[in-house]
């Protein structure tokens, strides 16, 4: 019998033994991974697959012990309710089964947490406001979450399962999400990263925030930070409305459009994408820089000490809040009409550049 045959037989017999039990999947995952590790250690030591498997307990014996350990009144095996992993994870924990996984919710006293760090993969992230501070995530056989609370720092890290054996066998796909709930005004900061899944952040007020994903969209609304605010993705649209930052605000993506309205940043606003349109309306900041390529920029009511609009192969249009004379204009395009002078004098630098596209900016009187 090969290593994989043994593990598959074990997993199937375990699943059979736990049939009907919703807590079981975490348990099965733990067991199969324990046996997988044993086998791999024996093989690493020099034994052949056949020898290693022969040295292991037969799958039936393993199941027999399960029945013995977890015997219930009707004789079926029932896994113990999953306990919260990580003794130093702190917080009040509740869990419930969800689909084929377990949703874990950890609640904390908001004053106790100053920094939240999330390092996830393939799961969406939602940051919203509510009563108190809580972190919710879904455990499933595809991987494991580690939670650590050290002083005022709360860290959530996702580790995918070793060789993805269980991921292949049970095929859980990309469900699962992380939900971070913050109290109305939280004096802390968030550094969060995920991938291949969207980020949504709504109605929160905090010190600073840096949220990153890839290959998925970011939607942010009604967010206020005392310091910086960064939202970054790639290959996914960024939609931002009513964001306010005391420090710098940066919205980044690529190969997708960026739509922003009612943004305000003491430290300036920078919105960057490529191959996707930028639509910006009512943006306020020390300086505002909108950059894309191969697409158009629409910029309406950009109030700043300095404005830079850059693209290529696309038109630039919009409405500026001050009369044209107030701006020191630098404007460049090729193969396109422009209603702006190539250069002009004023106090507010306005740099507008594209190629193969027209430039048409209107100005308020």
């Amino acid at each position: 019998m090969t290593r994989n045959e043994y593990l598959i037989e074990l997993a199937m017999k375990l699943e059979n033994a736990f049939r009907g039990d919703e807590n079981a999947y975490g348990e099965i995952k733990g067991m199969v991974s324990f046996y997988q590790e044993m086998l791999d250690d024996m093989i690493e030591e020099g034994r052949s697959e056949e020898e290693a498997v022969a040295a292991m307990e037969p799958a039936d014996d393993v199941v027999e012990r399960i029945r013995h350990e977890y015997a219930t009144a009707d004789g079926r095996a029932a896994a113990p309710a999953p306990e919260a992993p990580g003794q130093d994870a702190g917080g009040r924990v509740t869990s419930r089964s969800e689909g084929r996984g377990t949703a874990v919710r950890r609640e904390y006293a908001p004053e106790e947490i100053r920094t939240i760090e999330i390092n996830d993969m393939n799961h969406s992230l939602t940051v919203i406001s509510g009563t108190g501070l809580s972190l919710e995530y879904v455990e499933d056989p595809a991987g494991q979450y580690e939670v650590q609370k050290l002083g005022g720092r709360l860290c959530l890290r996702y580790r995918p399962q070793g060789r993805g054996f269980l991921g292949q066998l049970f095929n859980f796909g990309r469900s699962g999400r992380v939900v971070l709930t913050l109290p109305e005004k939280w004096d802390g900061q968030i550094e969060a990263r995920t991938s291949n899944a969207p980020i949504t952040v709504q109605e929160v007020s905090l010190r600073a925030m840096n949220l990153r994903t890839s290959n998925a969209r970011i939607a942010a609304s009604d967010v206020r930070t005392a310091d910086r605010l960064t939202l970054g993705s790639s290959n996914g649209a960024v939609q931002a409305e009513r964001l306010s930052a005391g420090g710098e605000m940066e919205l980044i993506t690529g190969n997708a459009r960026l739509i922003a309205s009612e943004l305000q940043a003491g430290g300036g606003v920078k919105a960057t994408t490529s191959n996707g349109a930028i639509e910006a309306r009512n943006i306020q900041g020390a300086q505002v820089r909108l950059t894309t390529s191969n697409a158009r920029i629409s910029a309406e009511m950009i109030s700043a000490g300095a404005v830079t609009l850059t693209t290529s192969n696309g038109s630039i249009s919009g409405l500026m809040p001050q009369p044209m004379e107030r701006y020191a204009i630098t404007s460049r395009t090729s193969n396109g009409r422009s209603n702006l002078p190539a250069a002009s004098r004023g106090e507010i630098p306005l740099d507008v550049r594209t190629s193969n596209g027209s430039i048409h900016l209107e100005f308020m009187e």
Binding site: G30, F34, E37, D41, E44, R65, Q144, R159, G162
Partner: protein, 108 residues
Amino acid sequence: MDTQLKRGILEVCVLAELCRGQSYGYRIQKDLAQYVTLSESALYHILKRQEQAGQVQAASVEHEGRLRRMYSITEKGRARLTEFREQWQEVGRAIEFIEKAAFQNDEE
């Protein structure tokens, strides 16, 4: 050996082994092999119970491109060992008495 007694002893053996330093499933089983027989499932359940009881802490560590679960003993685990030792010292004294009272009389 009586099952309950045996289980208690096996659990403490695992704790004692972890006093030597953090270890992983296969190595714990191997190192204990000359003293006790520990099947994979027995070891799995022992470690699981100990983790739940806070006597053992586990962490996944990368090793040769795969994840390996490393176990280490905690303060609670060490306290359990001390408690076990005290309990067995009492048993030891009881055995001494039994030996003297019940068996040495025969030889006299």
